[in-house]
Subunit: 237 residues, 2 copies
DNA sequence: AGTTCCGATTGATTCAAATCAAATGACGGG
DNA sequence: CCCGTCATTTGATTTGAATCAATCGGAACT
């Protein structure tokens, strides 16, 4: 069995032992609420590249990622793809009041999710201000990320895009797994290209250039951020 | 006095007569909550091009736009600008748990806002599930818009960008003021360029091309969507 | 009416990234 | 170990949009 590059250990099936308990939506729930909430949730697994939900699907579930990485993306009718985000453990996905998801999600490597049917979840959350506030907080965070990404897509060069991606992906992994300048990249070059609004060739060339400039070292399955100050400078300016 | 192209009539100062009462955040409040809420709010006016708040400002207020149009944008240190959204009456702006706004807002033409100090607003909302759910709904809507905009910025041609912008701007105005194919554009060409990730020259050329192709007619202060089916086709594909 | 000012348009040229086209490299199966 | 497959890298060329550079046009002044 291939182990995930971005694994989080979890031992039981119960929420109290859940790896993600402390920092996901559920962090807002007290002991009693938690017990009820546990009844609504179901663990499921998806294999590498399996689709968790599709943009035209009726929204029937919300998902809390427990382990692995997912990509969220939108497809245009002619096949052009824009990845709107990568999902890491603890991230809450699919929250919407719309009838349809509007974007697709699939697994990058094997994935474990905690799944909630929309209606029972809605009933549960309906009169729980603590949970609603937490959901708000998460939505606002995502919105801020989305706006940052708009700046990147609209106004930055290929080199800035790639450097920004590497730095912010590393920062997310650091939050999750502690500091390291080794940056695992479980997603393909094509995924990175579709996330940054570039082609795969440009991404590849830009990696090579960053390596030539001594900013990164390309490793199998990732990179090492060799000169992270310089990478951060590219990401900021 | 110059009248706003996107005016909404409102007659009194009280929330009950507010033009925006029915579809903004406040739509979720009952009569009694409304009365309390009213105490927290303060009307203010901003002149054309005045800044309502700046990206590095400490978040002290949230804003509900009552009349006029605003632009929300982020600036890079070197001056590059990405407009992350245009704000129309009824839109709720600035909701964040972060210490700083992270983006700037300024008036395009004269603007009236309903303003709430962050802390009292937070206390008021704290245990009001109806309001919290409404805020969630609005945040999720914005997030969906943001993701659509990522697709546009990352994967669409200049012509598609401009057509998409015109169609979706028209749709927002239709929701607000009823059907019409006359599309007022209170923002400058530079604003449109910074929204679409293009230069002003490319926007101008693309307008001209769309007019040559019989899709729009350029009017002072806006355009007429002459062949809205063709514009929508460009926007979709 | 003439002048100034500023936003918008148009034209000429350049350039960054896309496209087209191989070559290379990593991995899994026979 | 060799072969086929597929992802990635590298190279050559094209191209869409950016940049540089005038002009145009409308509104607000005298």
């Amino acid at each position: 069995m291939k182990t995930s590059l971005v694994a989080v250990d979890f031992h039981g099936q119960g929420c109290s032992e859940c790896a993600v308990r402390g920092f996901s939506v559920c962090a807002s729930l007290d002991q009693f609420e938690m017990r009820e909430f546990e009844q609504l949730s179901r663990r499921s697994h998806f294999a590498s590249c399996e689709t968790v939900f599709s943009q035209e699907d009726i929204t029937s579930c919300f998902y809390n990622l427990l382990d692995g990485v997912m990509r969220l993306y939108k497809l245009l009718p002619d096949g052009r793809r824009q990845i709107v985000g990568f999902v890491l453990p603890g991230d809450f996905v699919g929250m919407t009041t719309e009838e349809r998801h509007g974007f697709s999600a699939d697994a990058i490597g094997p994935v474990t999710v905690c799944q909630f049917a929309k209606l029972p979840f809605g009933r549960f959350a309906h009169d729980k201000p603590n949970l609603l506030r937490r959901m708000n907080e998460l939505a606002v965070q995502e919105l801020n990320q989305a706006r940052d990404h708009m700046v990147l897509l609209g106004r930055r060069s290929a080199e800035e895009k790639v450097a920004t991606f590497l730095v912010s992906w590393r920062d997310r992994l650091v939050d999750l797994r502690g500091p390291s300048n080794i940056v695992p990249l479980p997603m393909s070059r094509q995924d990175i290209a579709d996330y940054l609004g570039l082609t795969i060739e440009t991404v590849s060339r830009t990696f090579t250039k960053l390596e030539r400039d001594g900013i990164i070292t390309i490793l199998p399955g990732g990179v090492s951020l060799r000169d992270s100050a310089r990478a951060e400078a590219l990401a900021a300016a």
